[in-house]
Point group: D3
Chain length 341, copies 6
Amino acid sequence: MEKAFITFGEIMLRLSPPNFKRLLQADVLEVNYGGSEANVAASLAMFGNRVRFVTKLPDNPLGDAACRYLKSLGVDTSFIKRGGKKIGIYFLEHGASVRPSKVVYDRANSAICEAKREDFDWEKIFKGAIWFHISGITPALSDSLVEISIDAVKIAKERGLTVSCDLNYRKRLWSREKAREVMGEIIKYTDLIIANEEDAADVFGIEAEKTDVISGKLDVEHYKSVASQLLKVGSASMVAITLRESLSASDNYWSSLFYDGNEFILSKKYHLHLVDRVGGGDSFVAGLIHGLNKFSSKREAVEFGVAASALKQTIPGDVNLVYEDEVLNIMKGDVSGRVQR
Amino acid sequence: MEKAFITFGEIMLRLSPPNFKRLLQADVLEVNYGGSEANVAASLAMFGNRVRFVTKLPDNPLGDAACRYLKSLGVDTSFIKRGGKKIGIYFLEHGASVRPSKVVYDRANSAICEAKREDFDWEKIFKGAIWFHISGITPALSDSLVEISIDAVKIAKERGLTVSCDLNYRKRLWSREKAREVMGEIIKYTDLIIANEEDAADVFGIEAEKTDVISGKLDVEHYKSVASQLLKVGSASMVAITLRESLSASDNYWSSLFYDGNEFILSKKYHLHLVDRVGGGDSFVAGLIHGLNKFSSKREAVEFGVAASALKQTIPGDVNLVYEDEVLNIMKGDVSGRVQR
Amino acid sequence: MEKAFITFGEIMLRLSPPNFKRLLQADVLEVNYGGSEANVAASLAMFGNRVRFVTKLPDNPLGDAACRYLKSLGVDTSFIKRGGKKIGIYFLEHGASVRPSKVVYDRANSAICEAKREDFDWEKIFKGAIWFHISGITPALSDSLVEISIDAVKIAKERGLTVSCDLNYRKRLWSREKAREVMGEIIKYTDLIIANEEDAADVFGIEAEKTDVISGKLDVEHYKSVASQLLKVGSASMVAITLRESLSASDNYWSSLFYDGNEFILSKKYHLHLVDRVGGGDSFVAGLIHGLNKFSSKREAVEFGVAASALKQTIPGDVNLVYEDEVLNIMKGDVSGRVQR
Amino acid sequence: MEKAFITFGEIMLRLSPPNFKRLLQADVLEVNYGGSEANVAASLAMFGNRVRFVTKLPDNPLGDAACRYLKSLGVDTSFIKRGGKKIGIYFLEHGASVRPSKVVYDRANSAICEAKREDFDWEKIFKGAIWFHISGITPALSDSLVEISIDAVKIAKERGLTVSCDLNYRKRLWSREKAREVMGEIIKYTDLIIANEEDAADVFGIEAEKTDVISGKLDVEHYKSVASQLLKVGSASMVAITLRESLSASDNYWSSLFYDGNEFILSKKYHLHLVDRVGGGDSFVAGLIHGLNKFSSKREAVEFGVAASALKQTIPGDVNLVYEDEVLNIMKGDVSGRVQR
Amino acid sequence: MEKAFITFGEIMLRLSPPNFKRLLQADVLEVNYGGSEANVAASLAMFGNRVRFVTKLPDNPLGDAACRYLKSLGVDTSFIKRGGKKIGIYFLEHGASVRPSKVVYDRANSAICEAKREDFDWEKIFKGAIWFHISGITPALSDSLVEISIDAVKIAKERGLTVSCDLNYRKRLWSREKAREVMGEIIKYTDLIIANEEDAADVFGIEAEKTDVISGKLDVEHYKSVASQLLKVGSASMVAITLRESLSASDNYWSSLFYDGNEFILSKKYHLHLVDRVGGGDSFVAGLIHGLNKFSSKREAVEFGVAASALKQTIPGDVNLVYEDEVLNIMKGDVSGRVQR
Amino acid sequence: MEKAFITFGEIMLRLSPPNFKRLLQADVLEVNYGGSEANVAASLAMFGNRVRFVTKLPDNPLGDAACRYLKSLGVDTSFIKRGGKKIGIYFLEHGASVRPSKVVYDRANSAICEAKREDFDWEKIFKGAIWFHISGITPALSDSLVEISIDAVKIAKERGLTVSCDLNYRKRLWSREKAREVMGEIIKYTDLIIANEEDAADVFGIEAEKTDVISGKLDVEHYKSVASQLLKVGSASMVAITLRESLSASDNYWSSLFYDGNEFILSKKYHLHLVDRVGGGDSFVAGLIHGLNKFSSKREAVEFGVAASALKQTIPGDVNLVYEDEVLNIMKGDVSGRVQR
């Protein structure tokens, strides 16, 4: 029996200037590949799971290269539909200190945005699968993806898969109203909701009162209230909130709050000197999913997720290129960074 | 008095793997900027001319960077309309020996493709101008660009500018039929037509009989016939044909045939060990335009164009980063490549 | 009406080893261009102002490349005199933590050092101008530059330009005595003096008592006394002092004290995790000049200057490659470094 | 039905200085992975075949990275035994013109060299397989590999697989006497022998009379005699000889002679301006194997192999990163290297 | 009179991915050379001492390159025995923040591991020498090196050299039991023992009670007890303990405790934002040895050692590429990192 | 007995854009060190000789780095006078095909140019020496170097050293008249004159009639006449002329004519596909000097020089990083460039 994990979304070519250069001064761009659900897939595969990533990619060298990247990490790419005209691209300018990172997207009209319902045979895709993950970015990309995403969660639910959904609100992609409508539908079929500080408010109007995101401080009590409210809007039984306190583009605190309707679990908090914070949330999702399937204790699952995503933010690229034992070491408290010989 | 040169078209972000790597194996991509008419503009500016490049670019860091590149070479960018959503991109894989170079375009829906008639005030743009250049790529990009391109050549002609047009047929962008219709209109207002070996056939069905492009050999007599026929399809008084004999992706012969209805001028032929052949044709156009304005003799103008474009193909990037005196040295016959101290 | 800003000084080729390597171990050197007044010019141009940079550069590829850099940022280079034999060069070794950055200069006999009075026609240069900026480095470079610098400030003053002068004392270039004599003359024509912690003492013997520069701590009261005294030595009506507290080569505090004879304005203080601190003072000058011309409130002008220069120190190279809106965001207090999508 | 291709041997970490630098002056080394049979596996996978590569790799990040490389190209790595202490390494200094390339090996005591018989379950490995390929390098690496290699070819033969063997004599690894003894045993089970100019002589004492390898010229008649003799020493029914004429480290001629006991097929000869000649022979083997399985005509199979390996030598790295359609284009005669848009 | 310093051990090729990449994602590896005693030799030479490094290196381009590196820093390499089959290699993955650095060794069977007694003529090597340094790594590498190391310290002692020994326990190389036996013998001839926090416990079972290495905090009193005990196990008259408090892979505190049987000297403590912590201990050893020979005061010697090694950790590579005057500046308290012009 | 070789001249920092970029587009510059006599010294040291290089270098990190480079290759740098203000720099733009390489010098006022007679104690320098080499560049650099150069050759001659002098005329450094006067004096003390095609004419007005340097063809008979005349102008007994036929910046023919007053030796001619032709002449000088000291036959010496310098031109940098055995292989005729395993 396979026990496969399925994720569905976009994988983009990521291009970023090296050494804290601005896009304006870039003479070379470093190549990576990433996208919210692709990052979750890749991290789950690195942890030793069977993982299928579902998307659509153009049948050209750029599509090939994205597939090659996923395959290199052990992700099954055989359900990737090839066709369409372009791969989504994003340009990432790494910030530092008081200067924020900047992202310029070029993803409109990408192959996945223009995918059609018939491109994906969910019955086949879900064969032998136990988990399905999607984020709010996927339905935000196009109307056909709204339809396809709802198809996917429904069929997943029917077939008895556990469904997780990261709200991941992107204001450039859709309005709050549209997001609320679509995500409201999707979380009907969702078992585990993941959200960051602002998603709950943006998508469902759930407010974490008196919290000032810009100042970088946070108030746990309010997040408990947010978590409780999130469980009520859909049919989910678990919710996880990632808590990022941005001291600057170079230093953050990072932790998570988990709630299963029963117990609030507030994870250990990590101080991170950041190498690459992009994909931090996705690596938390992957770590949490892996943890929930590995540990009997939810606390351990959450701590695994947070430790995994702490590590991610020290690694260049979108993807959390770490193994399970490395995460377990961090969980045990060894964050001294001593050389391992 | 200004005596400005105007060119109109797209400038793209060009991304290419270094050191003959394939796109499939690229971990960094080198950044350049280029596009047929932008390349002509930049080379004319390097020769010391006043040049305005007209296009539309998104108001984001990538648009800024493209402008910055043009400004650095002395091109006037004040008539570039800012707006729209994306910059055109092309991925260039450099070939070598028997392996051809490959280009993957991502230019659909770029700002210039979606430009509107009202984005460009040609009366203002042409103030003080003496020359207007466009290539067949620009109208091929979108229907609105067909309209705008025809506007531009008409107004240019009315205002007494010399108009040049490089046929530059791209089969991926439009059909031969559409190209024939539109280019047929444009060359009504054109004084100087530039074409490479295949354009005349593709766009106007003019055949260079018995010439086998793949084998890399060519037959001058047939090109004379092609040149003569090209002068007849429109109102142009001059035609220039670039003659590339591709021995391999690493070695080419390069020359030109010019005809003004009177005399056939066959240029010197250069053996080139190629560094970057992209933009070779555009640098010829710039050299020829510069030459026609500098020299009283057409032969000198043509030889200047061919020498300029021979140099271009030894320089990385789309643009011919050479000065007038460097071209004159090549024209004089110094192609020995000795170190200049 | 143009409202141009003029700066005069040297632009050098800057060469630095990447990735914290020492010069001793460098196998490549990264190319940038910079110089105190050139940096001010470039930053003012990035903020959207019309700016002319005046210098002398050799007529060779290195002089061309320096011009190209300035033009790329929108600086008018048409008043740069071409001639002379060499471009000034400086080698910058980036420090880290307890290791200081090191600069090795190779600027003696550069074209600007050997410039002559007749190389610059100040009446023409100042046409349509409202501001002239110079630093103490320029007259320190050679005797002829003493003469030319005094010419420039006198003519600027006569023509009604606002004149700013950054004391910028460099002990390698001249003695304190010579500096005091020449700068004493220059600040007779200066409206705005900028100085860092040590300049006032070095050039005018004005002491900030009890302040220990090495320990990295500072005492604001003493700087108020310094500011007051600086206003008295010349005819300036404004003085700005940059306050850098060096915790290490990697971390600094950064703020400014401004005094207009009336009110002391102590800016917000930023904690900076440094990417490149070179040019920090120059970017403050540019920000302050821009702010004084943009805002009616001097506090806003000063805060703009400090925010701008905080950003600079997160960007590789001498020049502050940021736009006005990015500075305004920092001024508003968003220094959390969150990703901007 | 799977129709899998199996290859067995070593995959090494390849480290090479960029830009024609010598090892003595290298400050960075470019990372690739390669080994004779691994290269064959990877190329077969690029052509769309199901391929399993069998080896032993240490269970450390270097072993992981080698696996990751193979997986990225679609090679099945599930039969790679993990264990042992080190990955084989080779340092490659690229030559140019009159300077030869140099290889320094560090492969003694690698995991595969110390592999044991029980590490490989050939019955399982060969399930669903139709072809087995090995080269003379594998048994040359250690005594246990002699045993394992003979196991493998015997079992392959018993199970009805086609067996191919590239003689690939390496004088640093074993003596001619030992090679003759072991390879004499292996080719008893071999259907297709591949050899280059010197292997036949070194391993089996078969002489290509009057041929002077150093001068770079060759005499086809003698190679026909060599091919005939090679068919007689074992039970093979096909033999292919790669013919390299080294004009210099930068330019070669490349072709092949094939003999099936019936007809001599002399392939087209390519002039190659080399990017990376390492792996040229392996890419020929992969192309020939693919061709023999794809085409009914042996001439087409041979031409496919030669065209494939001509392309390889224009690509950095050991592996032939080309698709089937790209090889077919070369076979059709398009070696002009024109840009493909 | 020469007053030479001799060190004996291995020098390895060090390969590390740039920019915090993991080995799994490295496409290039940066080349450095290092090894505990080689690092001490190189630093002593940078301080202006006559230094001979003794080892065995293969007679191939990699051995040449290692020699070239040492010679470039002024180390006398004429006593390096050339021969054997391989150079030791280590792969270093730089950690960041919570992610530890990782080292993968490939040093088994290196030339020095397989060196024989007759490869080194200690009488000749020690001619004119005043100091001999070795670390516990050298005898740990092979049985023959146990013998040779004991030879070396004995002869050094007999000839009146001062002998220093850094315990440097490596659990991958030998057992605690074997280490205790061999090192127990070596420190009989040792004047100065250097150890880090764990070595005393690992090698001699000396416990620093209640100290929790992982938490990164330390308790000076216990280290005093450790120092006292270390003086008792052998015949040494001085012991130095390096005290590293690892806050993370990016930030450490660094200091030292020195004891000469008389006075405990606790050095200044430095906060380090790390560039490359590898070789930190070796640079302390070199600084201490240099200090003991330069200063009459032991406190100055210790402070010199700690300041030197603080600087090392801001420099890429194993070796402390700093001069004596740079260390003296740090000792004087200038750690503000201000630019030195 | 030492048998040392001495060379005297300038060593410069060489900065060059990678990958055929122009200086105008360089974002990094590759670091090398070179200078005519330094190159000879380094190559002689690579061949295993004892070599002292004499120059003056500033006491700063750039001077240190140049020394470090020479020491790394085994050159004795202990007679290098440290002092003065700057290191000479040259910027090298690599040409390709029809585009010539370009050199921009920044060597005026370098430490060696401003050296004084008392900086060099020739009696000490020449102790144990058998050969002294200088080129015409050294006296061309400054008037004091004229004096010092003449000192050096005189003392060398008196002490019985063999003196070689490469005419190396540089028109930017001095006039033909001054060169003739000074070089006329120097060759009075010279045993071996080396010249390229143009030096004899430029310096001594000796014409190689009917030879057209630009066309790249040459006429051996005329060079024989030049060689004969060169022997007559001074007291030399041997003359060597390097013969470069520049087909382009990418391809050259390379050979030499040697004459000892008795026999004309015309070397083998090599076709070179160039990697870096700078230093080609110097490597010939080093090879010839080594050959004259190694072989009894002058033909072998000349062939060694030509083979050595053929190799040089395939290696990046000024210096011929090859060993004696590699040159001997080329001499034997193995120029096929086959991989050496």
